[in-house]
């Protein structure tokens, strides 16, 4: 059962709060900018395009899809684990006693995280001319579609994580042991091929890797080095999204 009104209002609430909280917007956009220009700028001196690993693009261009992914990863996870916040400050109870299926609640929350993340990713995407990238209309549209898919996938993963925690103290645990490893084991900052074998296995288990790879497909077109085909990437994102939503829905349904 899907209650459209309930899903709509969950998304609308998140959107309204997002618009209202200027500091959250600024900080989520500042982080990728810092990484892009400070880390990317610094590393460019060490990594030359001639190395072949990156398919002839500069390092700062190479990490651009990764930085888009980072924007999404942080904002989608943050949006979803606000459920923990809601549990601690009670609004979750108001939502749970409403005659709304748990599945709709999960969808509403996942879409909330999606819309907020896509907005931020699009803002970062607008920087592409500064990095010397040339993107056509088709490339931009494809990038935005992939951003949406990836946002939904990460947001639903965030809900699954949130169902395990009761209090907000777990925030730093989630950041250090889930979000940071997901980011570094994804090919966002360096080609997966460079990693030792054991880490390579981990990157393959990380759904975020496939999102980054798909973004590389959309942005570099034929001029990049990819780890998987675009079909594999999209397939993995779709399947994991569905799995996460189902797990989250089941977890929500369980009563203590």
């Amino acid at each position: 059962m899907i209650e459209v009104n309930a899903i709509y209002v969950l998304v609308a609430r998140e959107f309204k709060k997002f618009i209202r909280e200027k500091s959250r917007l600024i900080s989520t956009i500042a982080r990728p900018l810092i990484w892009l220009f400070l880390v990317g700028g610094g590393m460019s001196r060490l990594v030359s395009p001639g190395m072949g690993l990156m398919g002839g693009v500069t390092y700062i261009q190479f990490i651009f899809p990764g930085i888009l992914g980072m924007t999404i990863l942080f904002s989608a996870i943050f949006s979803s684990i606000s459920i923990i916040w809601d549990k601690e400050f009670g609004l979750m109870k108001e939502i749970l006693v409403a005659p709304v299926s748990r599945f709709s609640i999960v969808l509403g929350k996942a879409l909330s995280g999606t819309i907020v993340s896509v907005i931020q990713a699009v803002i970062i995407l607008c920087l592409f001319p500064l990095l010397g990238l040339k993107l056509g209309v088709l490339a931009i549209i494809e990038t935005i579609i992939i951003c949406t898919l990836l946002s939904f996938c990460i947001a639903s993963l965030g809900i699954v994580i949130a169902t395990f925690y009761e209090s907000f103290e777990s925030f730093s645990v989630i950041m250090n042991f889930i979000v940071m490893p997901m980011f570094f084991l994804s090919g966002a900052m360096y080609p997966v091929k460079m990693l030792p074998d054991i880490l390579k296995v981990l990157t393959r288990l990380n759904p975020f890797t496939y999102g980054i790879d798909a973004l590389k497909h959309a942005i570099f077109r034929d001029g990049g080095v990819f780890d998987f085909s675009i079909v594999t990437d999209i397939g993995v994102l779709l399947v994991t999204s569905i799995v996460f939503v189902l797990i989250a829905g089941t977890m929500f349904e369980r009563k203590k």
Binding site: V9, K16, G90, I95, V97, K255, K256
Partner: protein
């Protein structure tokens, strides 16, 4: 007396329907038994009060009734719908004001109510008027566009009550609705809580540990350590104490004592040159006493047993010691609201 707060016409009062049914309900958290085999029924259109000290199991019972917790054993149903198995029907029929605040502080009062209206799928044409009504009802219409974080405790509480009514529930749960409010605000909040059954055709299930608040309930269940100790109307509960005490001063106590003993066939005692007797219907005795004794009566006063006396007798402890001293003003305020209510 509790029947006054029903919205049903008097001729229907005897054919009340039970809207909440709880049978042998048990809830264990590990080896702690929070609710220990309780049973009760709540009749439609009444105010049912759950009275008990901290940790008695009040909130746990509410959480089971409102489908947030599954009982360990036993049954609870609302309108015939099982609270565990038919949770979505139950959810549609109920509204709740939780013990802890559950508003979104970063939204305005108005937005919080809109959020609720959408969650409960209130018809589009009904949304605006209901929200406006609700805001007016709790006197927050002028503050509708303020963020909830700027509200005082009392305003938040009122907004929560208003929110709980937006979808026109059949049963409204109020978990310690006045906890932490100053006496003035508490009395104000009471003013409209007692009005709810009539104005909104809603049955109220509330918990409290304020004796004064329990007084206005149609029925009270006293709960302690997860067990219901006694259920009844406030008057019935007080009768378990043995009735009212009447104190009389006369110009001739000896003669008066004999007269009254002859009149009511009870023992009359004397203490500090004042006569006293207990009676189940104290107020009705007073005119008879005055008629019998005539001009020799100097003063008569009646002391009613309080729910506190009942609680003390049933559990052997005060419900919450620190409340007793500060209770007087509230008692007075609640009374004045009841008087107002009785007139209206």
């Amino acid at each position: 007396m509790g029947a006054k707060y029903s919205y049903l016409p008097p001729f229907l009062l005897n054919s009340y329907m039970s809207i909440i049914k709880v049978e042998n309900l048990v809830k264990k958290f590990g080896n702690l038994t929070a609710v220990n085999d309780i049973s009760f029924e709540v009749e439609e259109g009444t105010i049912f009060g759950f009275l008990g000290p901290n940790g008695a199991g009040k909130t746990t019972t509410i959480n089971i009734l409102c489908t947030l917790l599954a009982p360990t054993s036993g049954r609870a149903s609302i309108f015939g719908f099982d609270c565990t198995k038919q949770s979505s029907e139950v959810r549609k029929a109920i509204g709740i004001v939780f013990q802890d605040m559950t508003l979104d502080k970063d939204l305005t009062a108005y937005e919080n109510l809109v959020f609720h209206a959408y969650l409960y799928d209130v018809k589009k044409s009904e949304r605006e008027p209901r929200i406006k009504d609700a805001l007016n009802f709790v006197d927050l219409y002028d503050r509708r566009n303020d963020l909830v974080k700027k509200f005082s405790g009392g305003m938040k509480r009122r907004l929560e009550v208003a929110r709980g009514l937006i979808h026109r529930p059949k049963v409204l749960f109020l978990d310690e609705p006045t906890l932490g409010l100053d006496p003035q605000t508490r009395a104000n909040l009471w003013d409209f809580i007692v009005d709810l059954p009539r104005k909104h055709k809603v049955t109220i299930f509330m918990t409290t540990h304020y004796m004064e608040e329990a007084e206005v309930c149609s029925k009270i269940a006293i709960i302690d350590n997860g067990k219901i100790i006694i259920v009844g109307t406030p008057d019935e509960l007080k009768k378990t104490i043995g009735g009212d005490v009447i104190y009389i001063k006369t110009s001739d106590n000896k003669r008066a004592k004999l007269e009254i003993e002859k009149l009511f066939q009870v023992n009359v005692f004397e203490q500090d040159s004042e006569l006293f007797l207990t009676s189940l219907k104290g107020d009705a005795c007073i005119p008879e006493i005055i008629r019998a004794l005539g001009d020799s009566v100097l003063s008569v006063r009646l002391q009613r047993p309080t729910l506190n006396d009942v609680f003390l007798k049933m559990t052997g402890k005060e419900i919450r010691v620190e409340e007793v001293s500060s209770g007087d003003t509230i008692k007075e305020e609640v009374r004045s609201y009841r008087r107002k209510f009785d007139r209206g």
